[in-house]
């Protein structure tokens, strides 16, 4: 044999890549799993079982970790107060590594094998979109705490969410940019591999145009990229007054740094995907004066929010973000639905969830509308001194 004949080895590369795509799933089950067969409602006598699918590892790991903390805090409180009608709540958690395929596999497992009464998850819309059809076809209610893409709940009467949707969130930022910041020209930098980011960018572009603004350039990147200088160089040449980057925090932080390195001084605008303490750590001062829309604000004086933040900090030793607050509310709403339904039957739970009205949660008053989305106001936060500071509330 002799050197320089890469052919056959490279063929195997194709196989390698496909192995990467389907690597095995990691599990972290909280509590033991009962292996009973039979009807869902009989499978877990004397307890209520929720299934959680979260990105505990991977790119958006803080989303998963925050969600998991929020869920655990809520479950602990419910159980300490005696459970739901005397039944304790148990949560089975699977990690999806931030991959839609893993999220789908985890959902199937939760429903078919673990026979959970309700599925709670995901944060990322791309993962929720993979999970929703499975919950729907098995007639098990699914409650997403934070997926804002409209298609998550569209046409699926077992799928609910307790946050606002992207058309609203995109409009909020377009309105804020146009009316409060008085900006005419915006460039968009979207993550093409991410349903959430693409959706949000589309709604922003549409509303911003309607309000009389101009989109000077629409660029894209792929989640996980580390170099955005090429896109930003083109954006610099287009001279916008702000850049809309509706991505997730890890990418946004690098985008911000590189924008400043290229001498772009205009503010960046974004959505709830920015909300993570890692954003400020990685971006440093690069995001000073930038704005993003979010589900709630930490510096809200409401006593309910204050007490939640204190409990959260005492339990986990870190400040809560929107994801944990939404997850907390999701479990509380799920528990309320179980209570009103008086049963763990899927159809009854669904009806109870659909009837949620004026639920006073940490993230605001939540009413589920006929499209199974929550109707609630959004806040715009500005970044000052590496912290999000309340800037405005925009009502639906």
């Amino acid at each position: 044999m002799q050197v320089l004949r890469p052919g056959p080895i490279l063929v195997a590369l194709a196989a390698a890549v496909s192995i990467f795509a389907t690597s095995c799933e990691k599990k972290t089950a909280a509590g033991s799993t009962s292996g009973d067969a039979g009807a869902r409602s009989d499978a877990h006598a004397g307890e209520i079982v929720f299934g959680e699918v979260s990105s505990l590892t991977g790119q958006e790991a803080t989303f998963g970790a925050s969600t998991h903390n929020g869920i655990m805090l809520a479950v602990k409180e419910i159980n300490e107060a005696g459970g739901i009608d005397g039944k304790k709540v148990r949560v089975i958690t699977y990690d999806d590594q931030g991959k839609p395929t893993e999220a789908a596999a985890a959902t199937t497992r939760l429903i078919v094998q673990d026979k959970v009464h309700m599925v709670i998850g995901e944060v990322a819309s791309s993962r929720s979109l993979a999970m929703a059809p499975i919950a729907q076809s098995n007639k098990v209610p699914m409650l997403s705490p934070a997926s804002t893409n409209p298609r998550v709940t569209e046409g699926k009467d077992y799928v609910f969410r307790i946050c606002f949707v992207d058309p609203f969130q995109g409009t909020v930022m377009a309105k804020f940019a146009r009316e409060t910041l008085k900006i005419d020209k915006v460039a968009v930098l979207r993550d093409v591999r991410n349903d959430y980011s693409v959706g949000l960018a589309n709604y922003f572009v549409e509303s911003f145009g309607k309000l009389g603004g101009t989109i000077v350039l629409d660029q894209s990147y792929s989640a996980g990229d580390i170099d955005f200088k090429a896109q930003l160089t083109s954006i610099r040449a287009a001279a916008p007054q702000a850049i809309y980057v509706p991505g997730y925090y890890t990418d946004v932080a690098l985008v911000a740094r590189q924008a400043r390195e290229l001498g772009i001084q205009v503010p960046l605008l974004g959505g709830d995907g920015w909300d993570s303490s890692k954003l400020y750590e990685i971006a440093g001062d690069a995001l000073e004066g930038s704005y993003f829309s979010n589900h709630y604000s930490l510096d809200n004086p409401d006593p309910r929010i204050k007490s939640f933040l204190e409990k959260y900090e005492a339990a986990f030793g870190q400040a809560s973000d929107a994801m944990s607050a939404l997850a907390y509310d999701a479990v509380m709403i799920a528990a309320q639905a179980v209570k009103t339904a008086g049963s763990t039957d899927g159809a009854k739970l669904r009806d109870a969830l659909a009837a949620t009205k004026d639920f006073e949660g940490v993230t605001g008053s939540i009413t589920i509308d006929s499209d199974r989305n929550a109707v609630k106001p959004a806040v715009v936060l500005s970044i000052k001194g590496r912290k999000p500071v309340y800037a405005a509330t925009v009502d639906p």
């Binding site: 044999m1 002799q2 050197v3 320089l4 004949r5 890469p6 052919g7 056959p8 080895i9 490279l10 195997a12 590369l13 390698a16 192995i19 990467f20 690597s23 990691k26 505990l56 590892t57 991977g58 790119q59 790991a61 803080t62 998963g64 970790a65 093409v192 660029q219 894209s220 990147y221 792929s222 996980g224 990229d225 580390i226 170099d227 200088k229 090429a230 896109q231 160089t233 083109s234 610099r236 040449a237 890890t250 932080a253 690098l254 740094r257 390195e261 290229l262 001498g263 890692k278 750590e281 990685i282």
Partner: protein, 300 residues
């Protein structure tokens, strides 16, 4: 014009990173005909070695501290590379090549997954500290060249030239080339192929560590999965230049960096990765030996 100049600078600095990683692929391939997929993970570990040593090393003068951290990370990765070779690849020598390739993928995924456990690096991205003060080095009518970009480019070129000299102008390099040419005959000439191969891994891994630190400084978000995409791109660069060829890896890396910058600048940014991997397919179809590789007839 300003825009084009800026794109070229961006492309060069990204390309030099690809080139550094590509060197590791090409070195091992040149000697063993093995595509060492775990190389991307060694690169990632290099970043983290820099991250942790920066935490423990007290602040003193910036430049010597940077060099010290670089040395620590390169040493740590050399040990990791050596261990991977000893544990995973050496037992498979003499077996079909596909076995070693699949093992390489396994090692790569193992390091990635173990790295994501909270006990090791943890799943969430970490912030890589700035080891050297960054700032504007040049500003020519709106074309910005950052200090770190220059440092990355210069370090990459220095390491590549050093590597080239080592391979072509030292006894050890001659031994590497001899093993690459024909391991059995080389052994008859008094060369220990195992030792030479181990040394190749040490060298490749140390280069990966250097790349890891340079990437960490310019793009300060490091995470256990950071090697995947960069590793694949570097692999494309190695194939483009002619895998097994050191000069080819350098040229391939810089070419891929430039192509990406120009595709995003003047084409559509969503096709960036597609173009990079499209190049891989084109090279394999049209000129499988790459830009610098020579076609060698197979002797049986």
């Amino acid at each position: 014009m300003t825009e084009l100049a800026q794109h070229l600078i961006n492309g060069l600095s990204l390309g030099s990173v690809y080139a550094l990683i590509a060197l590791g692929y090409t070195l091992v391939y040149g000697v063993l005909q093995l595509i060492n997929f775990a190389h991307a993970e060694v690169f990632m570990l290099g970043s983290f070695a820099g991250f942790y040593s920066a935490r423990w090393l007290p602040m003193f003068r910036e430049e010597p501290r940077f060099l010290a951290i670089l040395a620590v990370a390169m040493a740590a990765c050399a040990v990791v590379g050596l261990a991977i070779e000893r544990v995973a690849y050496r037992p498979l020598r003499g077996k079909p090549r596909l076995n070693a390739l699949i093992t390489a993928i396994g090692v790569s995924m193992l390091i990635q997954s173990v790295g994501q456990l909270p006990f090791f690096m943890g799943p969430s991205p970490q912030f890589f500290p700035s080891l050297l003060a960054d700032g504007q080095l040049l500003d020519l009518g709106g074309v910005s060249l950052r200090k770190l970009q220059a440092v990355t480019f210069v370090s990459a070129v220095v390491l590549m030239v050093g590597l080239h000299r080592l391979i072509f102008h030292t006894r050890l390099g001659t031994a590497m080339r001899a093993v690459s040419f024909d391991a059995r005959t080389a052994a008859l000439m008094g060369i220990h192929p195992d030792r030479v191969i181990a040394f190749t891994f040490v060298l490749g891994s140390a280069l990966a560590a250097a790349a890891g630190i340079l990437v960490g400084m310019s793009y300060p978000r490091i995470e256990p999965t950071m090697g995947v995409m960069l590793g694949l791109k570097a692999f494309v660069a190695a194939v483009l230049g002619g895998i097994g060829n050191v000069k080819g890896a350098m040229a391939g890396g810089i070419l891929i960096g430039l192509v990406e910058a120009l595709v995003v600048g003047y084409g559509t940014s969503s096709y960036r990765d597609a173009v990079a991997f499209g190049i891989l397919i084109l090279v394999l179809v049209i000129k499988p030996s790459g830009l610098f590789g020579r076609a060698v007839t197979e002797k049986v």
